[in-house]
Symmetry: C3
Subunit: 156 residues, 3 copies
């Protein structure tokens, strides 16, 4: 049995490691590196960017395949995340909600598009490394996109 | 007396818990849940969103009453916070400055409004739970709003 | 020799202190306080905001001299940072990549400018205090600026 002190430190380290995965995702997305993005997910992950982007994507391989054309359609992107809220369910499983403001530039003359969203994630730890097992993207709002998003469920 | 090691860990945990309150505030604001927002504040809190929004609001109950129409006037909002700077004054009291980019969509045709602001907060811990005792919103700038804000005090 | 437990806590504290320097930079920039900004850097720092802003700046004194007119040309700014990714190389040296969305208002009628960028930093610790030894600003994109930036290196 580890001490309470060691357990609290381990929790803080897990939070930092999970946040780093969330940040590394953005870095690879914005560099248009679909394989490196997919490597942050479990092999059997489930990812849903919303109905406008095709709904549920199954598996890291499927994610890489979807992101390859998905990222290439932009000339530039910038995914700034914060408000990272992590709930540790065990030493090897966590849920997280993260805010994202995602700026997108298209090739040509189309105006820039911005998504004001939330990632709702499940993380698991395999062999000491945190990976994303589930990711769902919800939208608070957007400008410049002409696709359907999952709503955040704002009260009326 | 606790060890220095335990005290440092406790400080890190307090920082994480305070940041989580700041993030949870945004989540409930953006879901239009005024009662859940107010529950993050002390009963005798003082909140000031600036002269354009009525100046000082007294108490969590007063805050819930002010936020009910205040949030309902928007069709959607997204409060992305970061730059969280926490100064722990004791084990049960802290100050914090947090940056916010707050995107607002109005019903109808009015253009979106964005506030580039800073929350200047005082936190206290009661019964093991951090709450906001004071919050003041300062504005670095804005687009689309037609109300007066408290300035951040930029040097001329 | 310190215990592994103490070493892990020290790492977490270093991460928090480095993030605080990154945040304090923004606070002083947005308050137009060039001397306080420069005090966050080592005396022999190297800073590069890109070719459009003059390329490499040498030393904290040179940085203060460059920032004095550089910040004064704006009526207001707001530098919101997040995605802070810190790699600790030793107890006294670290690298960090940080995302920034930097909003700028000009005096007069020019439209606001926004930079979607990344700070690529080297931090060192002197006398127990973390300072920025190197900072390079890369741009994912921008609106409203008419200057050349260093690119983030997005794959084609």
């Amino acid at each position: 049995m580890i001490s309470e002190q060691a357990a609290r430190t381990q929790e803080l380290v897990s939070r930092q490691q999970i946040a780093d995965v969330i940040h590394t995702y953005c870095l690879h997305v914005d560099r248009n590196e679909p394989e490196q993005v997919a490597a942050l997910f479990t092999a059997d992950c489930v990812v849903d960017y919303g109905p406008g982007l095709g709904g549920e994507i199954a598996g890291a391989a499927g994610l890489a395949a979807a992101l390859t054309p998905g990222l290439a359609r932009f000339a530039a992107t910038h995914h700034q995340v914060s408000n990272v809220m992590i709930a540790l369910e065990s030493t090897d499983r966590a849920t997280a909600v993260t805010y994202v403001t995602a700026w997108h530039r298209f090739p040509g003359e189309a105006p820039d598009a911005v998504l004001y969203g939330q990632y709702h994630d499940v993380f698991v730890r395999h062999h000491g490394r945190w990976k994303i097992a589930q990711r769902k993207l919800l939208a608070a709002g957007q400008t410049g996109f002409n696709v359907e998003w999952l709503p955040i469920g704002r009260k009326r």
